[in-house]
């Protein structure tokens, strides 16, 4: 549709983003002054304690939620513009498959919603890639939680989005499959100009996939640290055993741990 923009990965910049949810007891402040630039064409991982506002930030970047203050610019415009062209894909934290559609139809739904021509071969290929071969005509109720997440990832990738927002996409997947997906999925979009944001609770996953790991502090969410990951690409299983990888995992772990000590989560 707009040719020049399509060939470059989108620039995503959050400036002073705050978010307060109105509530009976005065509201919940979820985010406090987030300044963040996602690496264009790269993957930024977001880690932080539960409830620190990771999903909220992701939703704000997707344009599904309005920030209470500050601004989010995607290619210099509000996220709505990219969204309206169907160039964002979000893997939601909660399973979001439509239960009356088969796996195949759920994946194909993204194409329809994004107003793209149907592409049965691409759908089938992605279903194979996420390891759901043979379950094309299964309904979500017949799948395990991890299988559902994998179907949701296939749905995210089928439209070849320019902005990929993944909210704990592998949370319910077993360790082995998770590692396999960690290694197999990124090459699918890393060949194309796609900017990706990954929310995860797994530090090794964050380090393995990301170009930069953003560590958030407990509520209200702030950016506590940024860790650059300069491990060469494509990343392979052997990278998991390098000293560099372990040092980075420890570094992020320390940053998360230190933060938990200084700012305990009120119960």
């Amino acid at each position: 549709m707009s040719p020049p923009a399509e060939r470059t990965a989108p620039q995503v910049a959050c400036a002073g983003v705050t978010k307060t949810f109105d509530g009976r007891g005065g509201g919940v402040q979820a985010l406090a002054g987030i300044d963040l630039v996602l690496r264009p064409g790269g993957l930024t991982a977001l880690v932080g304690p539960s409830g620190c506002g990771k999903s909220t930030l992701l939703r704000i970047i997707a344009g599904l939620e309005q920030p209470s203050g500050g601004s989010v610019l995607v290619d210099g415009a509000a996220p709505g513009a990219l969204r309206a062209r169907g160039e964002i894909a979000v893997a939601f934290q909660d399973a979001s498959l439509l239960p009356w559609r088969t796996v195949e139809a759920n994946v194909a739904l993204a194409l329809r919603l994004a107003r793209r021509p149907s592409a049965p071969e691409k759908v089938a290929r992605l279903i194979r890639t996420v390891g759901l071969e043979g379950f094309e005509s299964a309904r979500p109720a017949q799948l395990s939680g991890g299988m559902r997440q994998r179907a949701a990832i296939a749905r995210c990738l089928v439209t070849e989005p320019r902005l990929l927002l993944l909210d704990e996409p592998f949370g319910a997947v077993d360790e082995l499959t998770r590692r396999r997906l960690n290694l197999e999925l990124p090459p699918i979009w890393q060949g194309s100009p796609t900017t990706a944001l990954l929310v995860t609770h797994s530090i090794p996953e964050a380090v393995l996939l990301a170009d930069e790991v953003i560590v958030m502090s407990a509520r209200p969410g702030r950016i506590a640290a940024r860790v650059s990951v300069d491990i060469e690409r494509p990343r392979r299983a052997r990278h998991l055993h390098t000293a560099e990888f372990h040092a980075l995992v420890d570094q992020v772990g320390d940053l998360l741990g230190v933060d938990r000590d200084t700012e305990p989560v009120a119960v």
Binding site: R59, A62, L64, G80, R83, A84, R85, G86, I88, A89, V90, F92, D94, A95, S96, L98, P99, W100, L109, A110, L113, A114, T159
Partner: protein, 213 residues
């Protein structure tokens, strides 16, 4: 030994036969009671007399039944159409839900006996009042399950549709379809059930003519 215990000594008739026998028994009982204990009281007619009357006045009853069913069908159509449109309105403008439901409830609860004459004045001499009353009898029972079905759509589905840049109306078409339909179907009920009670036969010439004769 076991076989002896399990095999019934007398064959029990199948469920269809039992149902037919049961109903036949009721009709026979009715006939007997009407002819003996209640004879001369003019309280209830006998089944045979009713069948005889129905056969004798078959053209009249047939015509009345046709008119009633036709009006009921139109009312069913209009009532459900109104419910679907109202639910669609609420789906696009959710803040209207409270108001729509309240007005719908008030209209639904208005006594039909009171509405009949008003509708007769409004519509003049036409099928309008009967069709409106039939529509009023069905629209609420369609509207409420439709709204319940819409509300049952998880937020994450609407987020999904929105994340591809689609608006509220495609949310309604795309993801509301699943939860909406199962709750909708039982909501569509027959207006003729209401009609046959004869509660507002005064304002409806079709069935009242049949009733009176």
């Amino acid at each position: 030994m076991r076989g002896d215990v399990l095999a019934p000594p007398v064959p029990v008739p199948g469920p269809v036969v039992r149902t037919v026998l049961g109903w036949a028994g009721v009709v026979v009982l009715w006939e007997v009671v009407a002819r003996t204990a209640l004879a001369g009281t003019r309280l209830i007619g006998t089944p045979t007399a009713m069948v005889a009357a129905a056969v004798e006045h078959a053209p009249l009853y047939g015509r009345a039944l046709g008119v009633t069913l036709g009006e009921a069908a139109w009312g069913f159509l209009w009532g459900n159409l109104a419910a679907v449109l109202l639910a669609g309105l609420v789906a696009v403008l959710p803040f209207l839900e409270r108001m729509v439901l309240r007005v719908a409830l008030v209209v639904f609860c208005l006594p039909l006996v009171a509405l009949g004459p008003i509708l007769r004045v409004v519509f003049g001499f036409s099928d309008g009042p009967q069709i409106t009353l039939a529509a009023l009898a069905v629209y609420y029972t369609t509207l409420v399950p439709l709204l319940v079905g819409l509300r049952a759509v998880p937020a994450v589905w609407t987020d999904l549709v929105a994340s591809y840049g689609r608006g509220r109306s495609s949310r309604w078409c795309g993801c509301a379809r699943g939860p909406r339909c199962p709750t909708w179907r039982p909501g569509c009920r027959s207006p003729s059930r209401r009609r046959s009670s004869g509660r507002w036969s005064a304002s409806s010439p079709g069935p009242s003519a049949a009733w009176a004769s």
